[in-house]
């Protein structure tokens, strides 16, 4: 019985974030949250592989109370149960902190295959998967866009800058996946209601032998400066639109 763990991050939906042009800050109030884009593909991949090879999928995430609702979404996508490492020091946790905490939770569960998205849609650090693998001493295959599991081995295709690399290794192993690994199925009401009945285990930092001080020691002093686009935003319309556009570009010397 294949035991798969999929780690997901519940993030702010960047389409809702507004920019305060005057102060160059991001306005994050009243922004809805979502499961990070590639992590949705990771969950889907876990579910597909579990279905094919016969197994279970556990959705794991670490954060503060604000991410609890993410589990309803993750479970509605086909995971069988969830593990939630909850502590307020984990709000906006960096890759280093998340990896430490997730590695401990994964160790407790003795999973065969651990799947991550290649990076999160908010920070896109692309680190947590390989970090967790290193902490656990497991092999890691990153940037995978095709995955298969047979007996105790996985075979994966990695899409890299210079082409495709096809590799295999024995389980247990960690994999990070790209968005083109599968096509997402969007859960309907039936799957959403079914999520309620699935078990959710909660762990606190002491359950995994990590102290708050350790987490706090990774925090850095940082600020975000919104990028402000300063474009002319001139739209041409009507039957002369194309002519006017071309004349404008020619007068600017760009064509």
């Amino acid at each position: 019985m294949l035991k798969i763990a999929v780690c997901f991050k519940y993030v702010l939906d960047e389409v809702d974030i507004k920019v305060d042009v005057a102060t160059r800050t991001l306005k994050k109030e009243r922004v809805a949250m979502k499961i990070s884009d590639y992590d949705r593909n990771a969950i889907e991949e876990g579910v597909l592989r579990a279905c094919e090879a016969g197994g279970t999928v556990t959705a794991i995430s670490a954060g503060s109370e604000t991410i609890r609702k993410g589990f309803k979404d993750a479970l509605s996508r086909g995971a069988d149960n969830g593990v939630f490492i909850c502590d307020d020091t984990l709000a906006d946790a960096s890759a280093a902190e998340s990896a430490r905490v997730l590695a401990k939770a994964i160790e407790k569960g003795a999973y065969d295959l651990i799947i991550f998205g290649e990076g999160s849609s908010d920070m896109f650090c692309q680190q947590v998967g390989p970090r967790v693998a290193e902490l656990l001493g497991y092999p890691v295959i990153s940037y995978v866009n095709k995955l298969s599991v047979k007996d105790e081995y996985i075979k994966a295709e990695r899409k890299l800058e210079d082409g495709i690399e096809i590799v295999s290794c024995k389980l247990p192993a960690v994999v990070t996946v790209s968005s083109d690994i599968n096509t997402l199925r969007i859960p309907g009401m039936k799957q959403i209601l079914a999520a309620k009945k699935k078990p959710l285990e909660e762990l606190c930092l002491s359950d995994i032998d990590i102290s708050r001080e350790e987490i706090l020691s990774y925090k850095t002093d940082s600020k975000e400066i919104a990028t402000v686009m300063d474009r002319k935003k001139i739209l041409y319309s009507g039957s002369d639109a194309v002519t006017n556009l071309v004349n404008c570009l020619m007068s600017q010397g760009v064509i």
Partner: protein
């Protein structure tokens, strides 16, 4: 007047709402305008509704349906988003609450077992023919007859203004007792024979909007239907359809409001970009006030629609609210879209923009599914009483 107050969508509905919006915008919205211009229902796009589970609304899980997972409020959320993305496909969802409920609740088992799985899977369409050229509102006045002859009923007459006229199956309303008013109306499950059969002929109208749903007429000349295809029993048709009508009304309204919202969003974006005399036109109150008014009315009508559906989910009577939004919603949507078209100035007049198409599309529901007049009469009767009953 007492009212019920519970404004929040629960977490499950919130998540479903996000998902159905994502589904509609990625799978249904692209290509709407192109599809809307053809008298052809795109089965490939339609089938995506099946993949998302929408066609299984209130249908048995054993056939792949949603069981009771989706309630009316969820269906409302879905219909509104579908209406926003591709108006005509929304009609397919309305079918879920009328024709499909009749089949599921009253049709003989052999019909349920063979048809329901096909329908839920998005493989087949169904039409429901009540209206005739002589009357839609005046249902009791229908002239199509179904006369018993041994193991058959013989259908004669013409149904008109029926959606999905070339669907392979229809529920046909006909009089088994021509002298008995609405109590003489029965419903039949009628598989359509192929074109060469002279006893049934079908024609598609050339409509100005909702072309994909292929509204048209079906005419029967001594067409034999097996007696076992009678749905439930003789004279029961009118009562069977009433429940579905009530729930269809807020859904029709939401379908129209979703479409109007799409137009409003376009107008808002346009008003910010388009500049005249050095200012975005949104800064002129002649542009921003109509947008504000439309948004107000849509918000109010939308809330009343969801209140009606919320009541439906709790078996609290909601006929009055349903009638209110059915006369109000489509008309409000039409006027909103027209205003949005005018906001776009002369570009709005082009058929390369979706505004004109949305306008003629929603207009269809000012007529179909119960006219404005019928629904106002229903509201008046509720509020005033029997004195308001029509002559």
């Amino acid at each position: 007047m007492e009212f019920d107050l519970d404004f929040m969508l629960d977490d499950d509905h919130k998540l479903f709402h996000r998902n159905v919006r994502e589904f509609c915008q990625t799978e249904l919205a692209p290509g709407y305008l192109e599809r809307a211009k053809k008298h052809e229902f795109d089965m490939e796009t339609y089938k995506k509704l099946a993949d998302f589970g929408l066609l299984g609304f209130m249908l048995p899980e054993e056939y792949g349906g949603q069981g009771d997972a989706m309630d009316f409020v969820a269906m409302g959320l879905a219909v509104e988003e579908v209406g926003r993305a591709d108006f005509s496909i929304g009609y397919a969802l309305l079918t879920c609450v009328n024709a499909l409920q009749i089949v599921n609740n009253y049709a003989p088992d052999h019909i349920r077992e063979s048809f329901l799985p096909q329908y839920i899977n998005g493989d087949v369409l169904i039409g429901m023919a009540l209206t005739e050229a002589s009357g839609g509102t005046d249902l009791a006045g229908m002239t199509t007859t179904a006369i018993k002859d041994g193991d058959y009923y013989i259908l004669n007459g013409e149904k008109s203004s029926n959606s999905f006229v070339d669907a392979p199956y229809h529920i046909i309303y006909a009089k088994t007792d021509p002298d008995a008013g609405y109590r003489g109306i029965s419903a039949f499950w009628v598989p359509m024979p192929d074109e060469s059969d002279p006893t049934v002929s079908r024609s598609v109208f050339s409509d100005i909007g909702c072309k994909p749903i292929k509204r048209g007429a079906i005419s029967f000349k001594n067409h034999r239907v097996p007696a076992e295809n009678l749905i439930h029993k003789e004279g029961a048709a009118f009562k069977m359809g009433v429940k579905g009508e009530d729930s269809a009304r807020p859904l029709c309204a939401l379908q129209c409001l979703g479409c109007a919202q799409a137009a409003l969003d376009d107008a808002i974006a346009y008003s910010k970009q388009r500049t005249t005399f050095g200012n975005p036109i949104a800064s002129y109150q002649g542009i921003s006030y109509p947008i504000a008014e439309a948004a107000t009315h849509i918000a109010a009508c939308r809330m009343l629609c969801y209140q009606a559906l919320w009541k439906a989910d709790r078996n609290i009577p909601y006929t009055m609210e349903a009638a209110m939004v059915k006369w109000w919603g489509p008309s409000l949507a039409f006027n909103t879209i027209k205003q949005c078209l005018l906001t776009h100035g002369h570009f709005g007049y082009s058929d390369e923009y979706s505004l004109a198409q949305r306008m003629v599309d929603v207009m269809g529901l000012e007529i179909g599914g119960g006219t404005e007049h019928l629904n106002k009469l229903l509201v008046a009767q509720h509020i005033i009483g029997k004195e308001a009953r029509g002559r």
